[in-house]
């Protein structure tokens, strides 16, 4: 089992977490949506896998490059 990190590509705050821990996602699926400057920027799964943990909650401020979720593939 390899772990893979999902990172926010922008500075902003977590708007909506649209997946759940334990959920199977495919590469390209939206895990959560970050809001910055009135834009909603999705955090997408780079590979298929299962969501192991979220490291943020909705409304948490995040910075560019911050790890927001861990996936197991």
């Amino acid at each position: 089992m390899a772990e893979c990190e999902a990172k926010s590509e922008v500075t902003g705050s977590v708007w909506k977490i649209v997946t759940e821990v334990g959920q199977q996602v495919e590469a390209g699926d939206t895990i959560m949506i970050i809001e910055s400057m009135k834009m909603e920027i999705p955090v997408v799964a780079e590979e298929s896998g299962t969501i192991k943990a979220f490291l943020v909650k909705e409304e948490t401020p995040v910075t560019e490059g911050q790890v927001v979720a861990v996936l197991e593939s």
Partner: protein, 449 residues
């Protein structure tokens, strides 16, 4: 009898607050500006007769806080509210609360804001008024058989869209029935989580469409005209980046006839104040209704530059019961060509937001170059609001000259401290496709990789 204003609240921030405050000042109308913690030192506050602090930086605590704004309206004795664009500009409940105090809401009647706010309802209304509407469905049922039956009427490829939201969230393309059922589940779940409304519907996918919109101007007495079209095809993430008027390569008799027809129909239906009818233009030159924005548009400036009509002042006067014939010249014509580039605080390749401090911010100063901004050097660009730093507008006798001079103006625009999309704007404007007028909504994706 037209009313006159004592004082108008500008319930917005940034470039549009600056624009509206300037218009009010030129009209000799006293103004009330509002600001959040983040905008304490904003340059546009100086344009107002009085400025009031309305809360902390997050918009819901300030620019979206209706209670505070209504209280301020009463407290300052103002009798008009200009909502700008964004924030509360298309909030029917806010418009009603303003008019309930006896003040003028500078925008269309609340019922229009409400009707045009829901996508499938707006499409149904447009159809009822006889506007050209693209092939699409009503809100989809949840069982697969019903979804597939609806899809067969539209035809593939198609696009699944949330009915209650915007911004491109939950919009998914499907090219087959299998893809559609998967896309339906994803789009409905995303729509539910994002907008608390899982309604989705289908539209036929138009390949390489252009985005063409009409500026509508109407009085409170059933007279409605248009101020021609704008082409806003150059977009990233479903948001406009470069706009121009008139639309390149569109035959005047085609767009003119359509625009007259649509304005006539909206006038008969009682549309009032200003608005914008957004349409998709297919590769075969046919138009279909997309949505109607019941407010001032970000890109109104290019229409002002080619028609000589001040749209903000027009809007303020029409809201005070002046007649269209008194406000607009008898005959409006297109003079030359105007292009607007939106300078955003975002990286020029992937267009991700880039908040930060404006260490250097020097917009170009040149004859015939119009810059609309709400920022100045030294200010912070926060993640709380949209990334627009400035709009740079150039109007010239020909499209070619406008492109050249806009590229030159953008080249002279110095921004440091945040990333800006200026390099991308210059690449797009200078591309063979843009110069040839071969614009479409996927152009940025083709030019910038």
């Amino acid at each position: 009898m037209a009313r006159s204003y004592h004082k108008v609240v500008v319930a917005n921030r940034g470039a549009v607050a600056a624009r509206v405050l300037r218009a009010l000042s030129e009209m000799g109308i006293r103004s009330v500006a509002v600001y959040s913690d983040a905008d304490r030192h904003a340059p546009w506050l100086e344009w107002s007769s009085e400025a009031h602090h309305i809360g902390s930086a997050p918009a819901r605590d300030s620019y979206l806080n209706q209670d505070t704004l209504i209280a301020l309206l009463k407290q300052t004795g103002a009798d008009g509210v200009h909502p700008g664009y964004g924030f509360l500009a298309e909030n029917a409940a806010f418009a009603r609360r303003v008019t309930d105090t006896g003040a003028v809401f500078i925008g269309p009647a609340a019922r229009w804001i409400e009707d045009m706010g829901h996508k499938t309802r707006a499409r149904a209304l447009a159809k009822e008024y006889g506007l050209p509407v693209g092939v699409g469905t009503d809100v989809l049922p949840s069982e697969p058989a019903g979804i597939l039956a609806a899809a067969r009427k539209v035809g593939f490829p198609l696009i699944v869209k949330p009915a209650g939201g915007g911004g491109g969230i939950g919009m998914l393309v499907a090219r087959s029935e299998t893809e559609l059922l998967a896309a339906f589940d994803k789009a409905a779940s995303l729509a539910q989580r994002s907008f608390s409304n899982s309604d989705v519907y289908l539209e036929r996918l138009v390949d390489r469409p252009r985005h063409v919109e009409l500026q509508i101007v109407a009085d409170n007495f059933g007279t409605c005209r248009h101020l021609f079209e704008r082409d806003c095809s150059v977009q990233r993430r479903h948001q406009k980046v470069i706009e121009e008027a008139p639309g390149p390569g569109i035959m005047r008799e085609v767009i003119g006839g359509l625009a007259d027809d649509i304005a006539g129909k909206l006038g008969s239906a009682g549309y009032n104040n200003i608005g914008t009818v957004e349409m998709l233009m297919d590769a075969d030159g046919s138009f279909s209704f997309l949505e109607m924005n019941t407010r001032l548009q970000v890109e109104h400036g290019i229409t002002e530059e080619v028609t000589g009509v001040d749209i903000v002042k027009t809007q303020v006067r029409l809201a005070a019961d002046e007649k269209l014939a008194e406000v607009l010249p008898q005959d409006t014509k297109i003079d030359g060509h105007a292009i607007e580039a939106r300078v955003y605080a975002e990286d020029p390749r992937r267009f991700f937001p880039s908040p930060g401090k404006l260490e250097v911010f020097r917009p170009p100063v040149a004859a015939g170059v119009r810059v609309e901004t709400g920022y100045c050097e030294g200010l912070d660009v926060t993640p709380h609001y949209d990334p627009l730093l400035a709009k740079v507008i150039v109007q010239r006798g020909t499209r070619e000259k406008a492109i050249d001079d806009l590229i030159e103006a953008l080249g002279a625009f110095e921004v440091r401290g945040v990333k800006s999309n200026i390099p991308a704007l210059v690449t797009i404007l200078g591309s063979d496709q843009f110069r040839a007028g071969a614009v479409h909504t996927g152009l940025i994706g083709e030019l910038i990789k």
